[in-house]
Symmetry: C2
Subunit: 209 residues, 2 copies
DNA sequence: TTACATATACCTAATTATAGGTATTCGCAT
DNA sequence: ATGCGAATACCTATAATTAGGTATATGTAA
């Protein structure tokens, strides 16, 4: 079956380039295009349901991140493949958090783009080579989280206070708990995240909470 | 003297709004406008030197952050006032790091906008009320740095290892120093940065090294 | 050359974190 | 109702950090 695609980018030139690249490819079909996030939302709501959305991260009116958040909430069956410039690591991570299933840089070659599209269509993730370290870490972290390591409310609370520099005793006082209890939570966090030191926990908290 | 301003935003509607707001204000003059970062750069290089640039953070082609970095390097006398949506804390911090002298949210009222412009023109900083905590921290930190606190090579080395989770003893072994020496360096870092806890040092290191 | 910053090293004491246990209560779901 | 996760609490022991000192050698700038 043909994979239906919608492209969204505020540079028409780029859309045209992608269309040219994919026009000769069998098995994929571009069913619509949008020049900003709002147009993209309108397209989807107008029953133009694609299998995959290829979208720029930074777009006028509504950006790619906001659109992705909305789509993964309302239409989780549609996969989002983010397009990014080189130096937008922070944005890419936001896109991943928003629910994007992969990203490719804008200077992507035909072979890689087609490969990414097919991977996503099959339910997989795809990321451009030469991942910045931060994105690798994001991915590893997601794996850990999805496996077995998610923290309870109390544990998250403790971790947040920890990252603010509170000692066990201070946390205990603030939360009206025994220091022993706080320490138990800390030990459980250590086990779940496989992080042994306070230092590591602070870094984890800053990245993930 | 009249304060010369250039506005940059990819939403013409917003530019028009600001122009309307400032048109009746004496002492300020909008000398040009741009719809993206590239246009803004071209304007400046075409000798259209403003006192203040009012710019959106997210713009097509070249974003506000990149423009600000360039400007603070080549034209440090031009002050950048960033415009942000509500939920772009990360972007705002990037703008501040890039050299912006203040920011206001896009729903700013006339009185506040004019106040911000005058403050920047006089060489000050201006930040919208209801600052997210992170931005307050950024600001406090900049004050500390600009005052007196800079670290020696050895101290930076120690701080970096600390942020990697090394204990004093491990650092001592690695650097072929006595644990006592490492602890002395740590104490000096504490004093210089006015940070007492390991937790705080890790956060400092992640932000600044 | 005198003064100052840097880097080094040592001592002691108090506080905090790490790590190994065990155990009880509560609420929710099978 | 039984079992299980979550939250609570306690005990012990070791490791690490924090904080207060003092002190020496070295190179550099006033």
């Amino acid at each position: 079956m043909t994979i239906k695609i919608i492209i969204a980018d505020d540079h028409q030139l780029f859309i045209d380039g992608i269309k040219l690249i994919l026009s000769k490819e069998i098995g994929v079909e571009i069913i619509a295009e949008a020049n900003n996030g709002l147009e993209l939302i309108n397209l989807i709501e107008a029953e133009k349901k694609p299998d995959i959305i290829l979208t720029d991260i930074r777009m006028p009116i509504v950006d790619g991140i906001s659109v992705t958040k909305m789509l993964t909430k309302d239409f989780p069956e549609i996969k989002v493949l983010a397009l990014s410039m080189f130096d937008q690591t922070a944005d890419v991570i936001e896109m991943l958090d928003a629910g994007a299933k992969g990203y490719v840089t804008k200077n992507v070659e035909k072979k890689e783009l087609v490969s990414a599209i097919h991977t996503l269509a099959k339910g997989g993730y795809y990321f451009s080579k030469n991942l910045p370290e931060e994105i690798e870490n994001w991915f590893k972290h997601e794996e850990i989280l999805s496996e077995d390591a998610y923290l309870t409310k109390r544990e998250i609370e403790i971790l947040q206070l920890l990252a603010k520099g509170r000692t066990s005793l201070q946390m205990a006082t603030q939360l009206k708990l025994s220091k022993y209890t706080v320490d138990t939570h800390r030990k459980n966090i250590h086990k779940k995240l496989k992080i042994k030191s306070n230092t590591g926990l602070v870094k984890y908290a800053l990245k993930n909470l």
